[in-house]
């Protein structure tokens, strides 16, 4: 059912497999004559895994995400990923001229659109804002609508591009819990790009650190959820990651 896409060279994606996993091998990307933004990057994400991607600005996080989401084409290397992909961006990117439920089912065909919108809006706890205009939403509400818009498409692979970066600390904790429960329920593969080491450790099965377009650290996180910041293993992982990101004495 889930058609897979792989990119040979300079080509359109082609279907190769039918699972929910993601395979990247030898992915290289450079802009003009500059240094490679992605440098022979290889990455396998097994079906259903929650991966967090850390990295400083300019490490190639966004480029990797854009390539995986299909916004950028693959020039060198191979990328195979499920066809059903959804992206949640840092800004909600809701169309201000469409009501909340219309934003959720944007581009979806079928007469039962509103029913489906209501269903996912219930999952993200926004049933009371179904008819609202996006400009009247708070930041957290808008991100929940963006999440609903991603989930209504039943994605096999959910990509989150710093989705909580612009939210206040409390809202962020709520959103993290929400994402975790939705990920469990929908059983999709997830890739979270973030700047926040703690966030990565709270959510992910595995944390990657990207540097100069390569994966520098690939760290499994086996702590049971819900995770506590005070847990000694958590502490240890955190300092390991901060060290990898170039922060000393953390």
């Amino acid at each position: 059912m889930n058609t897979f896409f792989s990119e040979p060279e300079n080509g359109e994606p082609r279907a190769v497999d039918t699972t929910r996993s993601v395979h990247v091998s030898g992915l290289t990307r450079r802009f003009g004559d500059g240094p490679a933004v992605l440098d022979h990057l290889s990455l396998d994400i097994p079906s259903g895994q929650f991966v967090a991607l850390l990295g400083r600005s300019g490490s190639g996080k966004s480029t990797l995400l854009r390539t995986l989401s299909g916004l950028d084409s693959v020039e060198y290397g191979e990328v195979a990923r499920p066809k059903a992909v959804s992206v949640v961006f840092q800004e909600s990117r809701l169309l201000p001229w469409k009501r909340v439920w219309q934003n959720v089912v944007l581009g979806q065909k079928g007469p039962e659109g509103k029913e489906r919108a209501l269903q996912v809006l219930k999952e993200v706890g926004l049933l009371h804002r179904v008819e609202a205009w996006p400009l009247t939403l708070s930041g957290g509400e808008a991100q929940r609508v963006a999440l609903a818009r991603a989930l209504v498409r039943n994605p096999s692979f959910l990509m989150l591009d710093e989705p909580f970066a612009a939210l206040d600390a409390l809202t962020r904790i709520h959103m993290q819990n929400l994402v975790l429960s939705l990920w469990r329920k929908h059983q999709c593969t997830a890739l979270l790009v973030t700047h926040d080491v703690d966030e990565a450790l709270v959510l992910a099965d595995r944390v990657l650190v990207l540097e100069h377009g390569r994966i520098k650290v690939d760290l499994p996180v086996t702590l049971p959820r819900p995770r506590r910041h005070a847990h000694p293993v958590f502490e240890q992982l955190r300092s390991e990651l901060l060290h990898a990101l170039g922060v000393q004495n953390a």
Binding site: S69, R93, L95, W97, L106, G107, W133, L135
Partner: protein, 274 residues
């Protein structure tokens, strides 16, 4: 008890809000009304010659006479028809041209340059040329209106289409929207505020062009009525014509603004509504 009390209080509050609404709406008309009053007093007191500036009462009388003998309604209808056909053409052509040049680079290269060149020509100066080309019938008048109204519509819509946030376009692509879906769901509604702004400008220009077209060479229309009045030194009729033009402009602006409030509900009441 307490319930009925709170209800009457809320009714009071509602009435208070209605009153303040009426006051807000009406105070804008206060100073024009005062001006007219002042004018009437000055005329009645003999400070202003009736040949130079007839009194408001006299103008009302003249207007009533023009309505009764049918000359004002007939001429108004002719003017309205010219304005609406000319404006309608401008809207249709302007939207099509803006879509072509807004949605494709090739279209922009082909369409935008000549329109930008034409735009710099003062459209009113084309009146004699249009009369030579199209004669003295309805065509030159309608086409002058079209020409004048075309540019505000084209320029604003083109700008609106080009300034759509690319993040929305990216988002639409990740959602798998087709090109035609993106145009329909994202580009057009996103450019609508600019189009409506263009329409308001265009209406203003349309009336202006109409005035000139009807005064240069016409057998009917408000402008013609005014030119006729000049021959007979009828200042009052000229002023009535001016007032009618003014009212037409006001009314058309009001219509567009009402349309905006409805079409752009997401924007106007963004902070207030549910």
């Amino acid at each position: 008890m307490s319930e009925s009390g709170s209800r009457s209080r809320s009714v009071q509050k509602l009435r208070g809000r209605q009153l303040s609404f009426v006051w807000k709406e009406s105070r804008r008309f206060l100073s024009p009304v005062l001006l007219v009053l002042f004018w009437q007093i000055a005329s009645a007191g003999g400070f202003v010659s009736a040949r130079i500036l007839p009194s408001p009462a006299q103008l009302a009388h003249t207007a009533w006479g023009l309505i009764k003998d049918g000359s004002l309604p007939t001429n108004l209808l002719v003017s309205l028809e010219r304005a609406s056909i000319g404006f309608g053409l401008a809207l249709g052509i302007g939207v099509i041209l803006a879509l072509i040049s807004g949605l494709s680079r090739l279209g922009e290269d082909i369409i935008d340059a000549p329109l930008q060149i034409l735009r710099t020509l003062p459209a009113l100066a084309l009146a004699p040329l249009f009369i030579l080309w199209f004669g003295i019938g309805e065509e030159p008048k309608i086409l002058l209106v079209t020409l004048g109204a075309l540019f505000p519509i084209y320029l604003n819509l083109h700008k609106g289409i080009r300034s759509i946030d690319p993040k929305f376009l990216e988002m639409s692509r990740t959602l798998g929207l087709s090109r035609s879906q993106i145009i329909r769901e994202v580009v057009l509604p996103g450019a609508l505020p600019d189009l409506l702004l263009g329409v308001r400008y265009a209406l203003g220009v349309a009336w202006l062009m109409l005035v000139v077209a009807e005064q240069v060479n016409a057998e009917s229309g408000i402008g013609h009525m005014m030119m006729d009045a000049e021959d007979f030194l009828r200042t009052d009729i000229i002023l009535v014509g001016l007032i009618v033009y003014g009212l037409l402009g006001l009314i058309s602006d009001w219509v567009v603004r009402t349309g905006e409030r409805w079409l752009l509900a997401w924007q106007v009441d963004g902070g207030k509504r549910v």
